[in-house]
Assembly symmetry: C2
Homo-oligomer: 330 residues x 2
Amino acid sequence: MARRDRPATMEDVASLAGVSRALVSIVYRDAPGASEATRARVLAAGTKLGYRPDHRARLLGRTRTRLLGVTFDVRQPFHGDLVESLYTAAESAGYELALSAVAPTRDEPRAIQSLLDYRCEALILLGPMLAPSALASLAADQPVIVVARKVSAAGVDVVRTDDTAGARLATEHLIGLGHTEIAHIDGARSPGATDRRASYRTTMRRAGLTPLVIPAGPTENDGALAAKQLLDTHPTVTAVFTFNDRSAVGFLDTVRQSRQVPTELSVIGYDDTTIAALSHINLTTIAQNTPALADQALQQAHSRTTTSDHTTPTPIAPRLVRRTTTGPRL
Amino acid sequence: MARRDRPATMEDVASLAGVSRALVSIVYRDAPGASEATRARVLAAGTKLGYRPDHRARLLGRTRTRLLGVTFDVRQPFHGDLVESLYTAAESAGYELALSAVAPTRDEPRAIQSLLDYRCEALILLGPMLAPSALASLAADQPVIVVARKVSAAGVDVVRTDDTAGARLATEHLIGLGHTEIAHIDGARSPGATDRRASYRTTMRRAGLTPLVIPAGPTENDGALAAKQLLDTHPTVTAVFTFNDRSAVGFLDTVRQSRQVPTELSVIGYDDTTIAALSHINLTTIAQNTPALADQALQQAHSRTTTSDHTTPTPIAPRLVRRTTTGPRL
DNA sequence: GTGAAAGCGCTAACAA
DNA sequence: TTGTTAGCGCTTTCAC
């Protein structure tokens, strides 16, 4: 099969349909100003030629590009879920997405720069590690929406889950099951960790219980190490609330070598990532409402790029997902 | 801080530096035809204005866009690794990447279409599930490079790991440790599964051993289910080669409840994804050479889009990564 | 070494 | 309802 030397252009369609380029443009933008008959004729010609408007050219001539730049971390399953929801939200809001990945050898500034070169209307950053000052200076040039990280920077909108509510939900779930010695496996400096830790402490104290925070981090490894430490130093603990699902998985892996879950030890995670739902893990966890986060991010981007009135986003409520790693204290 | 109403344009830089736009273009493209002095002056002006060339406009005017479209699956950690390597390879080859995600609610044709609208020079598809006929018809319009899936379709280049060698490596590793009853947890219809299964069988027979294939699939769940079945029906097996790391993890999770690894049972995975290296998993596995795959993909894209002579890619050699889930038969 | 001018494929304001 | 005409911000050819 011979490779076409160049994709069909608007001009090609116009001449085939016997109309001007402007008409073709109107038809393909679904803009008013073309009769049904012409519309059909143009569309037929376009289909015949396999015509698809050139996106770059289209953006170039337009005042509003309706292009949103998104940075995400390839190693974060949660970011994958968010990206998916963002596509859905973007489509229904009439926006396009430009993706730029962050990875060990490709840092955030890098990923952002490449987005800027595409003249995105706004930047949606998933769990960025950038300093607030850097975020603020970015926001000076175009709207910046930070998702899943609580930062306060001038002109930056923050879309996130209400982690205080989430941690309360998790802790109260364990308390409700009759547990009294409940530990929290900490997330260190990860996005959300501060709120979850504080809320865990508050909820424990309010119930007349003593909080116990084990320093750890956001990875499976951190959870595994914390497990060893907890079993050694606090063997009487009967329930654990981990920073996230990943640390929960590492924690479980280690702890199961000497304890039965949930009969001897209950474990609850956070995020409800795909891994939590796997049948052999079946982790009780706190689910972030990804579609709602995505919708809100798009709403922010939209209101910031238009004159429509802008409202500060409110944190989104998480919900408890009961599975089989938590149970009553025996 | 006031938001700049529009990014600096080439015109702005030109007038600040007191030269023509063409000069600015030359300088920013690193093209010959400008004196050192002018170059410095232009660059200074550009920096002062925070100028960055508009990528869309740049591509529009150019004959070659040097833009490569990449589709990947957000749920595949291995794709994340590949994307990272592709960025590196693209940069050194002077190409740009346009990413398009595949997800449960966003299918492959969809992801590909959006790439086509950007007039990418070539398409790099990571583990696509598209039918060979669909791939071939795509390849009629622009070069298509399929990564990590063995397909044969007209005009489509396939860049992949030598799975026959990989499975042999895995099987021989277990045989070398003295195991004789070695099972393979199958990958069903996943990319690579056929080769790995066949090579496992051949290697076993050559060593005078009887192959045992347990039907499963590519996910943690599949591995977990296969583990149950294996323990029930073939309790004398002392070593297992799983289709990939994910199924290995599910397998391990289940099997560890009744067996010691590696003393009673050895397990080897495939892919060397990030999860395999986690200290609490520490999975012996077959590593795919991601950077080499990415380099080869870029090389193919390059030779297909230029007149440089095109060679059919050769499968890339994997290597054994010894960790702690395999050990001698006791 | 430098600049003028045409054009990439589209959008948009306006005239017919 | 339709066509004309200017751009959008850059690259590129060709004179100077």
